[in-house]
């Protein structure tokens, strides 16, 4: 097992799946020779050629719709949008076409497509290139939503996504592309709907996603020095959402903080907290807390952007406020 970056893990997942199954192909803007906006598809064009790593015009609706149509016709497309923010251009093809095809056609259609989209703030890309939009996708029956936080999960979840017979929205965090971790060389899957306890603890449960898993782990380290034991739970897929693992953890710690980079209001944390309230309210010894982005578009200027992004400090403060 070697150390690889999150980006290398994603690239390896696509390469291995394309080697395994000739129905797998990649399409998107600049994914070919250029290697993708953030370099995630680098080298795949040279290896598999232009018939399988395909540059499209800058037409997000057609990228998503072509993937959906090809998937319904027996292929396994991996479509890339440069930034998750651009899905707005193509929402109909994702929400009304890909997600609903199976149900509204009476179970006959199968739409095994993967839609990879980088999200997250931190690179000074401002309001139209930095959002975290998993709550949008969680709200649409028919989609699955993967949101890996580590290189290991990135590879395993992407292989699961490619092999899944449903449309999968695969959300990568820009600030995680350079993160290193141990990644097995051989292909493997990380199952959907199975949360991972990233750190075991006894005093407070912190459910965190994507980049916030790293922030939660840093916060847990600092809190441990102060005698507070934090359990960090990473759902890894927010649709399906593994509430069982989260509730088990809350039953053990009796305290819950949810941390995500998406805007807090009507964000993914709202669903997690609501389900805990429905199913495990009696186990809570303190109010739940959400650590999330403020209700504003993402600012450009570095100090404001930094202030906008939820931090390890925010998680520490949230934990202390209920302990």
């Amino acid at each position: 097992m070697a150390n690889k970056t999150y980006l290398q893990a994603l690239n390896e997942a696509m390469r291995q799946e394309m080697e395994r199954d000739e129905n797998v192909f990649i399409l998107g803007e600049d994914v070919g020779q250029f290697g993708g906006c953030f370099g995630v598809t680098k080298g795949l064009f040279d290896r598999f050629g232009e018939a399988r790593v395909i540059d499209t015009p800058i037409t997000e609706s057609v990228i998503v719709g072509t993937a959906a149509g090809a998937a319904a016709s027996g292929l396994r497309p991996i479509a890339e949008l440069m930034f998750v923010d651009f899905i707005g251009v193509a929402l109909d093809q994702l929400f009304n076409q890909a997600a609903k095809m199976r149900f509204m056609f009476g179970g006959k259609a199968k739409v095994p497509m993967t839609l990879r989209m980088p999200q997250g703030a931190g690179v000074g890309a401002a309001a139209q290139h930095s959002q975290s939009l998993e709550a949008w996708f969680m709200h649409i029956p028919g989609l699955k939503v993967a949101i890996p936080a580590t290189p290991h999960d990135a590879k395993g979840l992407l292989i699961s996504a490619i092999r899944d017979d449903n449309p999968v929205v695969f959300l990568e965090h820009k600030m995680l592309y350079g993160l290193e971790g141990e990644v097995p060389d051989e292909p493997y899957t990380v199952p959907f709907g199975q949360a991972d306890i990233k750190r075991v603890g006894t005093d407070v449960t912190v459910v965190a996603t994507s980049l916030m898993v790293q922030s939660a782990l840093a916060a847990a380290e600092r809190l441990a020095a102060e005698g507070v034991s934090v359990e960090v739970v990473d759902p890894r897929t927010v649709l399906p959402l593994d509430m069982d693992t989260i509730i088990e953890s809350v039953k053990k710690t009796h305290c819950l903080v949810v941390a995500h980079e998406a805007v807090g209001f009507a964000g993914p944390g709202a669903e997690i907290v609501a389900q805990v309230a429905e199913k495990a309210l009696d186990y809570l010894d303190a109010p739940v807390k959400r650590v999330a982005a403020p209700f504003s578009p993402i600012p450009f200027t570095p100090p404001l952007e930094k202030a906008w992004i939820p931090s390890a400090d925010d998680i520490v403060a949230a934990v202390k406020s209920i302990r």
């Binding site: 292929l75 109909d92 509204m104």
Partner: protein, 320 residues
Amino acid sequence: MKSPDKKTLLEMFATMNKIREFETKLQEFFAAGKIPGFVHLYLGEEAVATGACAALDTTDSITSTHRGHGHCLAKGGDLRRMMAEIYGRRTGYCKGKGGSMHIADFDLGILGANGIVGAGGPLACGSAFAQKYKKTDRVTVCFFGDGASNQGTTQESLNLASAWKLPLVFVNENNGYGISCPQCKSMAVTDIADRAAAYDMPGVVVDGNDVLAVYEAVTEAVKRARRGEGPSLVECKTYRWRGHFEGDACTYRCVEELNDWLAKDPIPRFATKLVEAGIASQDELEAISVGIKADVEAAVAYAEASPYPDAAELLDDVYA
């Protein structure tokens, strides 16, 4: 080109009658309150779906529109399962979960009627791409209306299909109105086919009430697509006899205009041609339409006798 053989011609006549009778019954039963939701009828436009689908093989595919009954029937859709679906019954094509606007039969290459105007283009690109990728010689036809021709998705799809030389035929059904808005208010061009030039593909205008004209133009386009030469745009000028949906009072158009088009009814026109060419006698054609009336009656009886789905089926088929 060689004219179609007798069998094909009579099948086309039967298909047009099938659509006409199916839609006429729907009109009647919708008014009687037997059918839930919206119904967008295809009456008057039968020659387009019939001519275009007659140019296709069973293994070819189509994407359809919210006015899709005619396309599905012309592509071989089963009358009973179509009717049952529109009635919301479990025996319908979509187990009652799709309804009039979402009928599909992948076995027949019907990739779905569609509730969103202009959504079919990208999906058709995907279907055509898949055939090219798999190196088959199968073709996809994308049906779209004059309203959809103004959607960005349609223009993006025309562009992509041409840039990638996809085996795709865009069949535009220009019925003159996007819901209530006449073409003259929604676009500056007279012929939607002119837009093909922007994408360097052939664009032809045909009389959409002449089933043979549609058949010939689409056959040429399909041949070109099968040869790997890329997409074409065939604009079929026709007219929507009914309102946009059943219940639409149609106050936005005049009776004279409707009457002009009723006089161009594609079915008697085709019947006259068949009789004049000695393909069939008036009696033989009459027998075909009588047989179809019985088939449609049987489909209605089947639909009405079919059960509604059970509430326990609500969560079925959300995921594969």
